[in-house]
């Protein structure tokens, strides 16, 4: 550590990883093994990262339970993405899956087991054998705590690798030089309130999604899209933000996730008449259709008056027909949660559920090596030198318009590792840190200083509430032009009001109010990106459902959206329909 720069402490590493969820930790591990010096900055202690909350599992065609191969997994993922996924990246991910699950198992992940001692796999939504045939069982699970098991194991491996952790440091802004190289980031030590520069030849964003955009969500409070916000402020666009996944089964009115594994183990949904309504919407896959399909079905049941309860505003997830042993062995976590939050023991009674904001398919545009790529002068996309992104904050895009359950844990491990390898390559070519000029830091310090303004003003909490309500109301499961337009006006007004927000707490030590203010800035910029992108896309695809444009329109819209902060400009780029080695899966009508 040195204080050479203007009284601000400075650290220097080969690589700065921002975010300590599965993506960041898998990348850090790869880099540590390549003997690069790595700093992992996280606003929470690593095992508090949101990967910990992933329940159902991780997809890989191990074929431990049903016949399977990576090519079928690839087909399901392309179809699940409603053909918006990039097929080169999807092939790469699905081919790597089995090896990486095995690797995790070798690291110590306590996967559940089959009688023959192999890793237990359960059926999940959108999985098929033989390109759309019988249901597959592809999701490797550690009971219903797979994310917890994987995150803890990855953290443990990083302890072993002696990775440098900056726990409870908040990343404020990326630092870029005049040529557009990313030189590291300005971060804030939460405990002391002191800013600090972390200089690095390469910076990896692994900051997770932005589920806190919506009032009812399955996400942790920390999921405020900080990496995407930092990218936007650095002039980098975000891609496909209109595609936000609503998980079919959050606890009604509260949002806690009830894993798709519940349906994978034999649970199903019923409406107020006791009807297993998914049979009407997806005759073959039924309750294990893709998440977008099931969420729309539930929302439709409720809209058409077949919801349960006094207000008819939810449906029921029925598990009470299952052997209690299955629930206690395979779904102990969701049983606990249902009892705590819905006061229902699923062994005896069905759980009230409703679609709940869950996953950000969009994010910082990257290639399959984790490099952040941006089109240059209307031309082909080129890497932003020194900048990488993986996991939910990135958009590779392997999830396209709708992510399959079990593919997000896979995504973070596959691309965390890939980015680690690509960064190692770059470090081999780039021996020295580029000079860090004062002017590059000043802007970030100015941003931070904005929150020192005193006086009366709206509070962070009040504006965040307003934002979340607005997003839920104007940009939910079903969308339509005039409502979105009204929503955009509201979100822009909130963006304006943000200027007048003032902190009342100006202390330095563990000032969580200041952190929440910085998070709110990120949330607001991503709300603007999301509504703007959703208003522009005049079709229905995957999770983006436009009542006024009910069909998918491949002629006009088989393309990725790019949103730039400056001028709220939109741009588009083609979907990569050509895989690496196999034939392309051309768009087809999507039925389950």
């Amino acid at each position: 550590m040195s204080h050479a720069n203007y009284g601000i402490a400075k650290h220097r590493f080969d690589t700065l990883v921002i975010g300590a969820g599965g993506g960041g930790l898998r990348a850090a591990l790869q880099l540590a093994q390549a003997e690069a010096t790595v700093a992992v900055v996280s606003k929470v202690f690593p095992t508090r990262s949101h990967t910990v909350a992933a329940q159902g599992g991780m997809n890989a065609a191990l074929a431990n339970v049903s016949p399977d191969n990576w090519h079928w997994h690839m087909y399901d993922t392309v179809k699940g993405s409603d053909y918006l996924g990039d097929q080169d990246a999807i092939e790469y991910m699905c081919r790597a899956a089995s090896r990486l699950v095995i690797e995790l198992e070798h690291m110590g992940v306590p996967f559940s087991r089959l009688d023959n001692g192999k890793i237990y796999q359960r059926p999940f939504g959108g999985q098929s054998q033989n390109f759309g045939g019988a249901q597959a069982a592809r999701t490797c699970a550690a009971a219903d705590r797979t994310g917890h098991a994987i995150l803890h194991s990855l953290y443990q491996q990083n302890i072993r690798a002696k990775t440098h952790f900056f726990d409870e440091f908040f990343a404020v802004d990326l630092l870029l030089d005049d040529e557009g190289y990313v030189l590291g980031a300005l971060v804030l030590e939460i405990e002391t309130g002191e800013p600090l520069i972390i200089e690095a030849k390469t910076t990896l964003l692994a900051t997770g999604g932005v589920g806190q955009l919506f009032r009812t969500n399955t996400n942790a409070a920390i999921n405020t899209g900080d990496g995407m916000g930092m990218a936007l402020r650095a002039g980098i666009p975000v891609q496909d933000m209109e595609f936000f996944q609503f998980h079919p089964t959050g606890i009604a009115g509260k949002g806690m996730l009830m894993s798709e594994g519940a349906r994978g183990e034999g649970g199903y949904l019923i409406n107020k008449d006791g009807e297993r309504f998914m049979e009407r919407y997806a005759p073959q896959a039924k309750d294990l259709a893709s998440r977008d399909v099931v969420s729309r079905a539930i929302a439709t049941e409720v809209r058409e008056g077949r919801g349960c309860g006094e207000k008819g505003d939810y449906v029921l997830l029925k598990l009470d027909h299952l052997d209690p042993e299955v629930i206690m062995k395979r779904l102990p976590g969701i049983r606990d949660m249902a009892m705590t939050f819905a006061h229902v023991d699923p062994i005896d009674k069905p759980i009230p559920v409703f679609p709940t904001a869950h996953y950000t398919m969009g994010g910082i545009p990257t290639d399959r090596f984790g490099q952040v790529v941006v089109p240059v002068n209307q031309g082909a996309a080129e890497p932003v030198p020194g900048l990488y992104a993986v996991g939910e904050c990135a958009c590779v895009s392997v999830h396209g318009a709708n992510r399959l359950g079990g593919n997000s844990l896979l995504d973070i491990v596959v691309f965390g590792r890939a980015a680690g390898n690509k960064i190692t390559e770059y470090l081999g070519e780039s021996r020295y840190h580029r000079p860090m000029g004062r002017q590059y830091v000043d802007k970030a310090l100015g941003h931070l200083a904005r929150w020192d303004k005193r006086g009366k003003g709206e509070s962070v909490g009040a504006l965040r509430d307003a934002l979340q309500r607005t997003m839920e109301h104007y940009c939910g499961v079903f969308r339509i032009e005039n409502v979105l337009a009204e929503g955009l006006a509201k979100v822009l007004e909130i963006e304006k009001r943000l200027e007048d927000v003032r902190l009342q707490d100006h202390s330095k030590i563990f000032n969580t109010a200041r952190i929440e203010a910085l998070e709110l800035e990120n949330l607001v910029s991503l709300a603007v990106a999301t509504v703007t992108s959703a208003l522009a896309r005049q079709e229905s695809r995957g999770a983006h459902t436009r009542i006024d444009y009910p069909d998918r329109d491949d002629e006009r819209w088989l393309k990725h959206t790019l949103f730039y902060r400056e001028g709220r400009r939109l741009d588009y780029k083609p979907v990569t329909t050509k895989p690496l080695t196999v034939d392309s899966f051309p768009p087809k009508p999507r039925v389950y």
Partner: protein, 231 residues
């Protein structure tokens, strides 16, 4: 609803104090975390950690009416008024309800909390029978919230020497894993009067664990293994 909350800001307060506050709008089903977040809307200086809100990230362990627990899964309806909210006992307080867990994490790191295998790894997964895997249930689910160790008198008295229930539970998680090959080293590292043997089976750890785990039992199992190992 009335609350009495431990407050301490080292920048402005000479000493910690208990602050009485009232929350008028109580929704049915509210958890303590919901109440704290509402209170923070009125007074943003109130500082505490939280994240997942559903008892899996382990950020928000507090001392609630004298008992350690997670604020996000503690229903207000289960608590007598005024609700006393304090930071985890025995840890240095950074501010308000936020404690410094450095020592706690240090113990965790010290038990080598990762699978150690000396043999070349197979091409496929290590095989493990469901019965072998079942031995990890009740161990791997730990969320490192710190509720157990900071409820343990032995840990209060010897925070630097006694590993504490959380770290020892994790130690046993690896000892119990059929894939792990470092049993002898793990046991040896726990020998001596303090690291393991300061546990006097007071059972506070098992009593407060928000995940229903039982570190005392795990410690007992380690003691048994250690005896066998010595003999």
């Amino acid at each position: 609803m009335r609350f009495s909350i431990y407050r301490y800001n080292p920048e402005t307060d000479k000493a910690p104090y208990m602050q009485d506050v009232e929350l008028t709008e109580i929704r049915p089903d509210m958890m303590l975390l919901d109440a704290l977040r509402e209170l923070k809307k009125n007074d943003e200086t109130l500082s505490f950690r939280f994240s997942c809100g559903e008892g899996v990230c382990g950020s928000d362990a507090l001392n609630i009416n004298g008992r350690n627990g997670l604020s996000c899964i503690t229903p207000l309806s289960s608590l007598a008024e005024p609700i006393q909210v304090r930071p985890l006992p025995g840890m240095p307080v950074i501010r308000d309800l936020v404690v410094d867990l450095t020592q706690f994490y240090k113990h965790y790191r010290s038990i080598e909390p990762y699978l150690i295998v000396h043999d070349p790894v197979p091409e496929e997964e290590f095989l493990q029978t469901p019965e072998q895997r079942e031995k990890l249930d009740g161990l791997y689910e730990c969320i490192l919230c710190g509720a157990c160790s900071t409820a343990c008198p032995s840990f209060w008295w010897n925070p630097e020497l006694f590993r504490g229930p959380a770290a020892l539970l994790q130690s046993y998680r690896f000892l119990a894993d059929s894939r792990d090959q470092a049993t002898a080293d793990r046991l040896q590292a726990l020998e001596g009067p303090y690291r393991l043997f300061r546990c006097h089976t007071i059972m506070n750890c098992a009593e407060v664990c928000p995940k229903g785990l039982n570190p005392t039992r795990a410690i007992g199992e380690i003691k048994k293994l250690l005896l066998k190992h010595i003999i």
